[in-house]
């Protein structure tokens, strides 16, 4: 990538075309899935998880918070190469998915069953990969694909999604840029007396103004006390932030489904608590060590080792996770992910959290591209002056 990639960090199309070639983006994703299906000997993929559905179909559908139990939202058939999508209408559906490939929203499982039976090639499938299962799906499956063995499609989905194309990196960078704008808005609003829930409101207003209302997470701000135990928190509180408290600001955003985000820690007011510089230094050292470990071929265990090499106590929060269309494996932290192997082109959210009773907590987070030449930090934000 010799050209300045940041020329693509805008939301709107230009006269000569969109900044990101979404047609190519979708085509590349689908080709990866088709290859993965072939390698795994799958006749069909039945997908229910939001990010997998978006990866396969590339449709712009209504965003809802949280996760719902598995249901067949999208079907990809190897023989026809077609992607079938649960969508009552064609708005937001890319042109390569024709009207015949859409099926409806039903409350009656019998009607859903009938719609799925109308998908060419599914009924004959002998091997069907899914990204989830429910007792209800177990009862319906013999009627949808009577001959099929149902297998786990997660490995092929993870593999397809792990390595990002240049278009995908561009989308992640746009999302990171939105998050950087939100970080500035949060910094501007941060002052003694403001509440965390007011900061969450400021975050939402900023990303909405930029045209991308759906957040990756609403965990965007938490203050830590200068006295007593320090906790990493996720839910906003009503308590006014006190003068001199350290506040973790951790906005993230989505662009075309892709996630980007960063975290910085700031002081509310003018007087930093005693020990802030030392704590900030610990956090930076730990984050830099983690980022440096994000190289092709490295294992999750190498990130744990990088953390331990800084002398920090055993990590109590996540060290890193994959990002792409939302959050994805690997999960490195909570003791998980030691054997996960990083691959070139993977993008990670990497974070360091250091806490000290009597000072507070310090959080920093970056988006890191695992590049052939080494880690490339995609996020930009002023770091705490040491």
């Amino acid at each position: 990538m010799n050209r300045d990639e940041t020329s693509r960090t805008g939301m709107m199309a230009l006269e000569e075309g969109s900044r990101v070639d979404f047609t190519r983006l979708r085509h590349d994703r689908r080709r990866r899935l088709a290859r993965g299906m072939e390698a795994a000997g799958l006749d069909a993929l039945v997908l229910g998880r939001g990010p997998n559905v978006r990866y396969a179909a590339g449709a712009r559908q209504l965003w809802r918070a949280g996760t719902s139990p598995f249901a067949p939202m999208c079907v990809m058939v190897a023989e026809t190469g077609k992607v079938h999508l649960l969508s009552v209408w064609d708005e937001g559906v890319p042109p390569e998915i024709g009207h015949d490939e859409l099926y409806g929203l039903f409350w009656n499982p019998a009607n859903l069953l009938e719609a799925l039976r109308g998908i060419p090639g599914l009924a004959e499938a002998e091997r069907v990969g899914t990204d989830g299962f429910t007792p209800l799906f177990g009862r319906l499956q013999p009627a949808i694909a009577p001959k099929a063995e149902v297998v786990d499609a997660s490995p092929l989905l993870s593999e397809a999604r792990a390595t990002k194309t240049a278009d995908e990196v561009a989308c992640i960078t746009v999302a990171a840029t939105l998050a950087e704008a939100a970080l500035c808005a949060l910094e501007h609003a941060l002052a003694p007396g403001v509440t965390e829930r007011q900061l969450l409101g400021v975050f939402y207003e900023c990303v909405c103004r930029l045209g991308s209302p759906a957040p990756a997470s609403e965990s965007v701000a938490f203050a830590t006390p200068a006295h007593g135990p320090v906790r990493f928190r996720h839910l906003v509180s009503d308590r006014p932030v006190g003068e001199g408290e350290l506040v973790a600001l951790a906005p993230s955003a989505l662009y075309a489904g892709y996630e980007g985000g960063l975290a910085r820690t700031r002081v509310a007011g003018s007087s930093a608590p005693k020990g802030t510089a030392a704590l900030a230094g610990r956090c930076r050292t730990a984050l830099d060590a983690l980022v440096a470990a994000c190289r092709p071929g490295a294992a999750g265990a190498d990130l744990y080792a990088a953390w331990e090499s800084t002398g920090e106590p055993a990590p109590t929060v996540l060290l890193a996770n994959g990002i792409g269309i939302g959050t994805e494996p690997p999960v490195i932290g909570f003791g998980r992910g030691r054997t996960a192997t990083l691959v070139e082109g993977q993008v990670l959210s990497v974070q360091a959290w250091a806490a000290h009773e009597g000072t507070g907590g310090f959080l920093e987070r970056e988006v890191v591209l695992v590049g052939a030449e080494g880690p490339q930090v995609l996020t930009r934000g002023e770091r705490f002056p040491l």
Partner: protein, 412 residues
């Protein structure tokens, strides 16, 4: 934020609906209901992975998150038959209910990861013996591979009957969520004018809901511009109206009729704000639009006229159709009414493709919530859609949503 004595003495099961929910009592009563249903179904426990089932069974709060993140960093609630409290395994320990015993609050489990399943199996092994019959809402492939020692069945058989009639505190939660949404919509409506983008309305609304106390967002707010004819709107598989379509950075223009639909979450409970707005510096419904609104009111009025314990859903759909001159006043892929609770659409669902026989069997009972969302459509002149929320009480119903329909006005 203070709320007046809005419930005015209405009762559900003989108990008055409180102005504000007693959250601890609410969680205790939900746990008791799940225990009753576990007994009735002969199950040994529940293992719940989905966001709304967790909110119901554990009472734990979680930040609003994209589905990818929420599906990897989950809360898992395990309910053991006969036990007084659920077990909560969560990455969001700050969202755990304060009364949850310390030995019932655990670190996160990762049922979606191959290298998380041994710990998951071990946690379940501490609570259940082999052969236990467990209700589950979702099974990941690692669970299918590694947890074959249990007999798995659909958790809905336990959870759905527990949820269908709300307790008085659940009703107060829904009302509070709705109140927050309605106040925040005043801010969004003040921003509405030609040239504003749909997503800017979202910003005004979402900023305000959090200032007012929302726990989390639930859905990307919808501000869909309705084309005057069905053909001018998006193509649909059934030929009926395409709704609700996702928000973009689309500019709104003078005279655009927009159907607003948004919901937030307050202590686990959804709100559902639905109204029709007109884009203008001086929004004034045309006589035709005003007549659509009057008809919408008449349809809802006909339903509410009948609504009380013992009425069947089919009686309500028939009344709605009759009030619309024999034309079904709702969208083909939806319903006349749905409930809200910890889900944004849950039972009772009235007027769905489950059919008339299903509606004949749905008998209204105290505590059931109805979000009435009839649609009045006139080819060539778009239409009117709003949502009114009521709860069935011991002797009728109680409104949980407000009575402002600006820029439409209720005829004197």
């Amino acid at each position: 934020m203070t709320v007046d004595d809005w419930s005015a003495g209405a009762t559900i099961g003989g108990r008055p609906v409180p102005g504000q929910p007693d959250l601890e009592r609410m969680r205790r009563e939900r746990t008791a209901r799940l225990q009753v249903q576990l007994e009735a179904e002969g199950l040994d426990g529940l293992v719940l992975l989905g966001s709304s089932a967790n909110a119901y069974a554990s009472g734990a709060l979680a930040p609003g998150e994209d589905s990818g993140r929420a599906g990897l960093f989950r809360s898992v609630t395990v309910v053991v038959r006969g036990a007084p409290a659920p077990h909560l395994f969560t990455p969001f320990s700050d969202g755990a209910p304060p009364e949850l015993p310390a030995d019932h609050l655990h670190g996160p489990l990762f049922p979606d990861l191959e290298d998380g399943i041994a710990e998951f199996a071990s946690a379940l092994g501490d609570l259940f013996g082999g052969g236990a019959r467990l209700g589950v809402d979702e099974q990941t492939h690692p669970m299918l591979r590694s947890l074959g020692r249990y007999e798995w069945t659909d958790a809905a058989a336990v959870v759905a009957p527990a949820k269908i009639a709300k307790t008085v505190d659940e009703v107060a939660c829904i009302r509070h969520a709705q109140h927050i949404s309605e106040l925040a919509m005043l801010e969004a409506q003040a921003v509405l004018r030609p040239g504003v983008r749909q997503s800017e309305l979202s910003g005004a609304f979402l900023r305000r809901v959090f200032e007012l106390g929302a726990t989390s967002g639930a859905i990307d707010p919808i501000w869909q511009v309705m084309a005057p004819t069905k053909d001018a709107g998006p193509w649909t598989i059934h030929g009926d109206i395409a709704y609700p379509a996702a928000t973009t950075d689309r500019f709104l223009r003078e005279g655009d009729v927009i159907w607003v639909d948004a919901g937030i979450n307050y202590n686990g409970y959804a709100s559902d704000y639905g109204r029709t707005w007109i884009t203008s510096n001086h929004p004034r419904p045309t006589p035709r639009q005003a007549a659509q609104f009057d008809r919408w009111r008449a349809v809802n009025g006909a339903v509410l006229e009948l609504l009380k314990p013992g009425v069947t859903a089919i009686e309500l759909t028939r009344a709605a159709i009759a009030a619309n001159d024999g034309v079904k006043p709702w969208i083909e892929h939806f319903y006349l009414s749905h409930a809200i609770g910890t889900d944004s659409a849950e039972l009772p669902l009235i007027g769905t493709d489950l059919g008339d026989e299903f509606d004949e069997r749905q008998v209204m009972a105290p505590g059931m919530v109805l979000v009435l969302e009839p649609v009045i459509w006139e080819e060539g002149a778009a239409g009117y859609r709003s949502e009114d929320i009521v709860v069935v009480t011991d002797d009728g119903w109680l409104a949980l949503s407000g009575d402002r329909y600006d820029p439409f006005t209720v005829a004197a």
